[in-house]
């Protein structure tokens, strides 16, 4: 169980996160929706240890996470930019976390090959990052995060820079893998459709505060402005009013 209580964060006197509380169950993916600048990326960075919170607590499996250095939290942060290590090939990029943990070569080989097969990267293992497409890079990034079996994955609009087809493929892949590997994740996006595909639950962030909906249905029936706009758009398309 992941529990955030009364998290606050200010930048130059301006509140970005205000008394924010949140609970995420094990193996659950929660999607956070919000406009740019509403504080959703800051929340992930605070949880990952990239930023310090001004107040509040963060517990994971009854451990106080704020007391643990970033490299020992077992939390992986995935951003929009895949940021692969440019001097390492795909195999070594995926294997990075295992090498840090001093796994033997045979163990690394076995685990990387299995994951690469699952992610459709077997043909790419010996390629360097500059030889990959945007979608392939994000797959490698995903594999690199997944292979160390993190306690929590924080995804900060990870598919935001991909074209629509690759994005749909990656959404499907993440959806399947998260169920298969029982991942606990916090997924930040501004795309309602993506949130509905990815999340077990959805939350809306506004001015540093969160409103969490118990399920997708509750979110769709909430009267949220963006949901209403999106639904009326698609109804319009279906009824031929938009063509």
């Amino acid at each position: 169980m992941i529990v955030l209580k009364n998290i606050t964060k200010k930048y130059q006197g301006k509140s970005v996160l205000f008394d924010l509380s949140l609970e995420i169950s094990e193996h659950e993916t929660m999607c956070i929706l919000g406009v740019s600048g509403c504080g959703k990326s800051t929340l992930l960075k605070v949880m990952a240890g990239l930023e310090l919170a001004d107040g509040g607590s963060f517990e994971m499996e009854e451990q106080h996470v704020f007391d643990i250095p970033a490299e020992k939290r077992g939390i992986v942060y995935m951003s929009q930019e895949p940021l692969l290590f440019p001097h390492l090939n795909v195999f070594e990029n995926i294997a990075f976390g295992l090498r840090v943990r001093k796994w033997t070569n045979s163990e690394v080989e076995e685990k990387v090959n299995a994951l690469a097969t699952r992610l459709g990267l077997t043909e790419e293992l010996m390629k360097m990052p500059h030889q990959l497409s945007g979608g392939q890079k994000q797959r490698v990034n995903f594999g690199r995060s997944l292979i160390i079996e993190p306690r929590l994955i924080l995804l900060d609009e990870p598919f935001g820079s991909l074209d629509s087809q690759t994005r749909a493929e990656m959404q499907q892949l993440f959806h399947d893998v998260r169920k298969e590997k029982k991942i606990t994740a916090l997924f930040v996006t501004h795309d309602i459709k993506e949130a509905l595909i990815m999340g077990d639950r959805i939350a809306r962030m506004d001015k540093g505060q969160l409103k969490v909906y118990p399920n997708s249905g509750a979110f769709l029936n909430s009267g949220d402005d963006d949901v209403v706009k999106e639904l009326s758009f698609w109804n319009g398309v279906i009824n031929g009013e938009m063509i």
């Binding site: 990952a48 490299e71 020992k72 940021l83 990075f96 090498r99 840090v100 943990r101 160390i148």
Partner: protein, 281 residues
């Protein structure tokens, strides 16, 4: 049109940069085997035999490598250390100071260090005035000395800022700060990042500049001329002496040394190009 422009640029490069050097190389080769020059009396290997038999010429080659490798190694270590320090504690002010030594031509830098380090120089005088030494002769020999301390220090002063600026630029361009964050999340600490990401990336992106600068450094002679001993001397000083002496019989040896040095560098570069993935970590 695009193809014409590209071909013209290649042609211009070959005409200006390659042809004169190639002509010079061929002329030196012919001169060294007696087929060109004032004293050329037909094909002979006499000058090559003289050069290779004399300890003087071979010592010059060894000495040049010693100076270059020591200077480059020291500069690289310090540049890596500075780049890491700057990575941890960024400061634009400290970087701007690095441009200062680059304003000094090697000749001026050599003279400046001579006035600082020589037995009659500033350090020696201050040491005497402050009572650290009893006589000026007690001051350690740091110029024209056996270990070429003065030369290495001066060359370090000229090379270190270039390598540091190179590594700092690579660090920025390759987004190392973000890669550090990524490595941290995957469990790597500062030490692991330094050894497995920071150093290998700086090296893999900067190695060709380092090698080319080492070759350039081997070809300079001002600093070694001012701060070096008469013997051993660097290849460039050796060639200069043989060329400018009154003994015309020595000139073919200068050409032979030029050919030998150029061939060695060419072979060295060819080997490096074949070893595609040479790395330090």
């Amino acid at each position: 049109m695009q193809g014409f422009k590209k071909n013209s640029a290649v042609f211009l490069f070959i005409a200006i940069a390659v042809v004169p050097v190639l002509c010079g190389f061929i002329y030196s080769l012919l001169y060294s085997v007696g087929l060109a020059g004032l004293l050329g009396k037909g094909f002979t290997l006499e000058h090559w035999e003289k050069l290779l038999a004399s300890s003087d010429g071979l010592m010059s080659i060894g000495y040049t490598f010693y100076l270059t490798i020591t200077t480059i190694a020291l500069s690289m270590i310090m540049a890596f250390a500075y780049a890491w320090y700057h990575f941890r504690q960024p400061s634009e002010r400290s970087v701007s100071k690095l441009y200062l030594p680059l304003l000094f031509p090697p000749l001026v830098a050599g003279m400046a260090w001579y006035f600082v380090l020589s037995p009659s120089g500033l350090l020696s005088r201050w040491s005497y005035a402050l009572g650290f030494i009893q006589r000026v002769e007690d001051f350690p020999r740091w110029v024209n000395d056996d270990f070429s301390f003065g030369i290495i220090l001066t060359q370090f002063f000229l090379v270190f800022p270039i390598f540091t600026l190179l590594f700092l630029n690579i660090s920025k361009k390759e987004n190392l700060r973000e890669l550090y964050r990524t490595a941290l999340h995957l469990g790597g600490d500062k030490r692991y990042f330094f050894k497995n990401i920071f150093l290998p990336i700086l090296w893999s992106k900067g190695k060709w500049v380092v090698v080319l600068y080492a070759i350039f450094l081997m070809g300079t002679y001002e600093v070694t001329l001012i701060l070096g001993q008469t013997n051993p001397r660097t290849i460039t000083v050796f060639i200069m002496e043989k060329l400018s002496k009154y003994n015309l019989n020595d000139i073919p040896q200068a050409h032979a040394m030029s050919v030998l040095y150029s061939t060695m560098m060419l072979l060295f570069m060819m080997i490096l190009f074949r070893l595609k993935n040479w790395r330090i970590a």
